[in-house]
Structures are given as structure tokens and as C-alpha cells.
């Protein structure tokens, strides 16, 4: 029996299973270590509140125009695209309910998370990557500043707190866009639209959306920082860190979405 590393003796062989499989598990372990370190550093003082505030500004406030525009367009377009299929049943009066469920349950958190992954995640990956490459992080360590606490914890916390807020804004702006379309085509009044919107969603929807967006925020921050913090040397490493921050974050967001939807539906039926 031969093994890829060519050595059967467990004490002397170079890889546990194979180089690739080993690297996957090693990176999983690294991520696990990274997360544990994050919670440990976040819980212990001193707290970098000023930097946290700056990151909140970057992640939350600076993303607001882009997110609002995207949310508005999503609501407007989704309403317009749903109308033909509902009008086949003569059920265009149900548009507000449909939009409300779609926006609150799925569109607002997803759109916000994806846009934030593109804008904020890539930014973090590139920023931390270039700091790593230019050895600024090492310099910080030397100057008795905890670079993990200062750079990673603040960023991850900022995305974790800001994405849910951005989701609230997106949902509101999306519903506004939807209202404009519904009002223009079905002459539905604002109170009627408003009533229907809130009649068709439940507390479970609201809280699952909040929890979902918190997890999305955490994922975006964590992936961005992990990729940047662990980027390989050289300018190529920076580009790769930024790229993989976005790709991995988006991929994870969809995986999380599926899992959370399953759990919420199980709770909804029970």
C-alpha cells in the first residue's frame, strides 16, 4: 500500500492525509483559532472604542447611500416584475403582501449582505492584506499595540452591528420603492399598503431577519479580516486576499441563508 507522501511511518511522514486535504483542515483549524481569538480579544479590555466608532462610520454610514439605492431599486423592480404573474389571477391587490414577505424575509438581508460583502469585505481584505505585506501589523506588535484587537475585533464588531441596521434601512427603502410602483399602478393608498405589509409578516420574520443579518455581518467582517490578516506576502497576496474575502463571504452568506431558512421554517410550522 502506498501513500501520496511515500512514507508509511506516521512519525516520519510529512502529511497526515495528503497535502491538499491537510491544508483544508489546517485552514479550518486556523479559522477556528481566529474566531476563538476574536471572542477572547473582544471580551477582554482594553476596548478600542474610537476605532470601533470609525469602523462603524466606514461600514454603516458610508455604505448607506449605496445600500439605499440598491434597496429602492430592488423593491421597485421586484414589484414591477411580480405584477404580471399576479395580474393573471386578478390578484394584484396582493402585491404589498408579496413584496412585504419577500423584502423582509429574504431580499433585504441578502441584498444588504451581498453589497456589503462586495464593498466592505473586499475593502477589509485589501486593507489588512496590504498592512500585512508592508509589515505594519508586525510593527504594531512591536509598538505594544495589539494589532488583532485594534484591526480585527473593531472591524468584525462594526460589521456585526452595522449590517442589521443597514438591513432595516434597506427593507424600509425597498418597501418605499415598492409602494411607489404599487401606488402608480394600483392606486393603493399608503395606509392600505402599510396595513397589508404589516399584516403579512410576523415577529418571527422580523427576528429571524435580524439574527440572519447579524450572522451575515459577522461573516463578512470575519472573512474579510481573516483573509487580510493571513494574506501571503507580496502584492499578489493583497489582491488574492481582497478577492477571496468577497467570494468566500458571499458563498458563506448563501450557505447560512439556506440553513437559517430551514430552521426558521421548522419553528414556523411547530
Amino acid at each position: 500500500m502506498s501513500s501520496p507522501n511515500g512514507n508509511l511511518n506516521p512519525k516520519t511522514r510529512k502529511y497526515f492525509i495528503s497535502r491538499r486535504v491537510d491544508s483544508i483542515f489546517i485552514s479550518l483549524h486556523d479559522v477556528y483559532q481566529f474566531i476563538i481569538r476574536f471572542f477572547k480579544e473582544a471580551a477582554l479590555p482594553p476596548y478600542e472604542l474610537k476605532e470601533l466608532s470609525r469602523q462603524c462610520y466606514e461600514v454603516g454610514y458610508r455604505s448607506l447611500p449605496l445600500i439605499s439605492l440598491t434597496g429602492f431599486i430592488t423593491g421597485f423592480v421586484f414589484t414591477n416584475q411580480s405584477r404580471p404573474s399576479l395580474s393573471e389571477f386578478g390578484a394584484t391587490s396582493w402585491l404589498p403582501s408579496l413584496i412585504s414577505i419577500a423584502v423582509v424575509r429574504a431580499l433585504a438581508p441578502l441584498v444588504t449582505a451581498l453589497i456589503a460583502a462586495g464593498k466592505v469585505g473586499s475593502n477589509m481584505g485589501a486593507e489588512l492584506g496590504s498592512m500585512k505585506v508592508t509589515e505594519q501589523i508586525d510593527a504594531m506588535e512591536v509598538s505594544a499595540t495589539n494589532p488583532f484587537k485594534f484591526l480585527v475585533v473593531t472591524r468584525v464588531m462594526a460589521t456585526t452591528f452595522m449590517i442589521p441596521l443597514l438591513v432595516v434601512y434597506t427593507a424600509m427603502v425597498g418597501l418605499l420603492g415598492s409602494y411607489l410602483s404599487v401606488h402608480a399602478n394600483e392606486q393603493t393608498s399608503w395606509p392600505a399598503f402599510f396595513t397589508q405589509v404589516f399584516e403579512s409578516i410576523s415577529f418571527l420574520d422580523l427576528f429571524s431577519t435580524m439574527i440572519k443579518s447579524t450572522i451575515f455581518g459577522f461573516t463578512i467582517g470575519l472573512v474579510g479580516c481573516y483573509q487580510g490578516y493571513n494574506s501571503s506576502k507580496g502584492t499578489e497576496g493583497v489582491g488574492r486576499a481582497a478577492n477571496s474575502a468577497v467570494v468566500a463571504a458571499m458563498f458563506l452568506i448563501f450557505i447560512e441563508e439556506i440553513i437559517i431558512v430551514q430552521i426558521v421554517n421548522a419553528i414556523r410550522i411547530a
Binding site: G60, Y61, F89, L165, Y169, F198, S202, F203, L206, M210
Partner: protein
């Protein structure tokens, strides 16, 4: 430092507005779903709830008054539905109310409708069980529809037969449509009818003229109908007339009495009129009176020629002559 302050303020505003929006949404949702409203619990047992779910709406007179709290099996494969009803609406729901399964719209969500209750017979209390009436399911509707379809088919096939017969000229309608003689008759009937209608038109015109005359303000009828003074006068006249007839009746009564008494013998005139004996006596008396007057006449004649009184009579004759002469001269 200044820009850092500004940044912090902006972040603060951003967070505050976001949280306010979220809390507003939660409160609105709570308000819509009546989560923070006091409720009472009612139950209803259905044979089949047709896909009703926890959280489905409950309507009373078309108004949402609560939601379905719990659904569970009970007894003989029946379903017990627990209803959360707002305490505010409790006083409007009679103890005799019934519950039925319904839907908001043709393909809408399942709801429970409470209806037919009279709060005067006592209102529902917490924990009461409502009577349930079996609602029409879609299958029932389809069944009825199928029955309708069959009936429709029967009707249309009957009509087909009928139209065939008509086409062939069978039956009254068929004859009517195909017989030319009948058509002629019909034509004449129609022309007669036209004439009749012309006449009727004339008559109505005249009636209308008459009516307009009646409406003429100076006309008696109009005054009778509109002028209250005339009516009052008429009323008084009638009253007077009534009085007059009453007195006339009284008079005739009196007259009758009088004539009755005339027939009687126990009064003077009655005796005169009715007693033949008295008449004979009266006749005798009258005869005696005549002879006495004749004799008196003779006596008087004799007296004129008496010397004691002759002068007076001569004087009287002279005076009479004088008077007659004066009259003739005039």
C-alpha cells in the same frame, strides 16, 4: 479631532435612526397582530378545518377581532381550535354566536368567522365554546355546480327540441311564425290596437284638459281641493244644513203628533172633525142661528121705521150720498 467628532455623531445618528425604525416596525407589527392587547380565549370544535393555521385571522361582522391560538385534535378525530379574541370586542359577541370556517376572498387565506350572535342574550366569557356550523367547502360548491350543469344541459336540450318544433311549424308558436293567415290576423290586431291606442291617447288628452281645468285656481274643484277657507265655509254650511234638517225632523214629528190628536175625539177639534153626533147637533144649532138672525133682521127693519130712531138713519143716508159724490168728483 473635529472630523472624528463629526464622524462619531454621524454614526450615532445612523444607529439611532436604524434602531428607531426597527422598534417602530416591531411596535406596528405588535399593534397589527394585537400582541400587546388583552385577549380572552374561546374554543370551537370543527370536523374539518380545511388548512386553517395558527395565527389565522378571526372575523366578526367583517372586522378582525383576533387570531387562532392553537389547533389540536380532540375526541372523535375532530379538531379543537383555540381562538384569541380581543377583550375589547367581547361585549359585542353574544353567547349564542356561531363560528364557521371561511376565507378572505375566493382563493384567500382561511379564516374563522363568528356571526349571528346577539349580545342581549348574554356575552361570551373567557373559555366559552362556540357552536360550529358546517361551512360550504369547495367540493360542496363543485357538487352544486355539477348539478347546475346537468340542469343547464337539460334545459338547453329541451330548448333545442322546442326550437326544432318551432322551425317545423308545430304548436302555437310554430304556427304563429309560419302561418301567413295568422300573420294577417295579427297585423289587423295590431292595427286595431293602434287605433285603440290613438283613442286612448285622445281620451287621456281630454282627461288631462279636464284635470288642468280642475287645477285652474278660480275653479270650484281647485278651491275645494286647495282653499281651506272654502272648505271651512262648506263645513259650516253643512253643519247648518244638518241643524235645519234636525229641526225639520222635529217639525214633522210635531205635525204628526198634531194630526194624531186631530184623529182623536178627546179634544174640541177632534170632536168637530170626527163625532157625527156633534156634527148633527152643530147643524141644528146653525139652523136655529139662521132663523134667529132672520128674525133679528126683521126686528131691526122694524126698528128703523120706529120714530125714535128714524132721524138717525136719515142723517146717515145723507152723509153716504155726500161721500159718494165727492169720490166721483175726484
Amino acid at each position: 479631532m473635529k472630523s472624528e467628532n463629526k464622524r462619531s455623531v454621524l454614526v450615532g445618528i445612523f444607529i439611532l435612526v436604524g434602531i428607531l425604525l426597527f422598534v417602530g416596525g416591531v411596535l406596528t407589527l405588535g399593534g397589527k397582530q394585537k400582541r400587546f392587547v388583552k385577549t380572552i380565549t374561546l374554543t370551537a370544535i370543527f370536523d374539518n378545518i380545511g388548512g386553517l393555521q395558527t395565527g389565522s385571522n378571526i372575523w366578526y361582522s367583517g372586522v378582525k377581532i383576533g387570531t387562532v391560538k392553537k389547533i389540536k385534535f380532540t375526541g372523535n378525530s375532530q379538531v379543537e381550535v383555540t381562538l384569541n379574541i380581543e377583550e375589547e370586542s367581547q361585549k359585542f359577541i353574544g353567547r349564542d354566536s356561531k363560528a364557521r370556517l371561511s376565507s378572505d376572498g375566493l382563493i384567500g387565506n382561511k379564516i374563522i368567522e363568528i356571526y349571528n350572535g346577539n349580545p342581549r342574550n348574554g356575552i361570551v366569557e373567557d373559555g366559552d365554546q362556540l357552536h360550529v356550523e358546517k361551512a360550504l367547502s369547495t367540493e360542496d360548491m363543485m357538487k352544486t355546480l355539477q348539478e347546475n350543469n346537468k340542469n343547464l344541459l337539460g334545459i338547453t336540450s329541451d330548448f333545442k327540441l322546442l326550437s326544432l318544433k318551432i322551425k317545423r311549424g308545430e304548436g302555437t308558436i310554430g304556427a304563429f311564425l309560419s302561418d301567413s293567415l295568422l300573420a294577417e290576423h295579427f297585423k289587423s290586431i295590431v292595427s286595431n290596437l293602434q287605433m285603440a291606442s290613438t283613442n286612448t291617447n285622445n281620451v287621456t288628452q281630454q282627461v288631462s284638459k279636464f284635470a288642468s281645468k280642475l287645477n285652474n285656481k278660480s275653479g270650484l274643484a281647485n278651491q275645494l281641493l286647495t282653499d281651506t277657507a272654502v272648505f271651512r265655509n262648506l263645513k259650516t254650511s253643512v253643519a247648518e244644513l244638518h241643524k235645519a234638517t234636525t229641526s225639520a225632523a222635529l217639525l214633522s214629528e210635531n205635525l204628526k203628533n198634531v194630526s194624531n190628536r186631530l184623529d182623536d175625539k178627546n179634544n174640541a177639534i177632534g170632536v168637530l172633525l170626527n163625532d157625527p153626533e156633534a156634527a148633527a147637533t152643530l147643524k141644528g144649532t146653525l139652523g136655529n142661528l139662521e132663523t134667529s138672525t132672520k128674525k133679528l133682521d126683521e126686528n131691526m127693519e122694524a126698528l128703523q121705521h120706529n120714530f125714535l130712531l128714524r132721524g138717525f138713519f136719515k142723517k146717515k143716508a145723507k152723509q153716504q150720498l155726500k161721500d159718494s159724490l165727492a169720490v166721483s168728483q175726484k
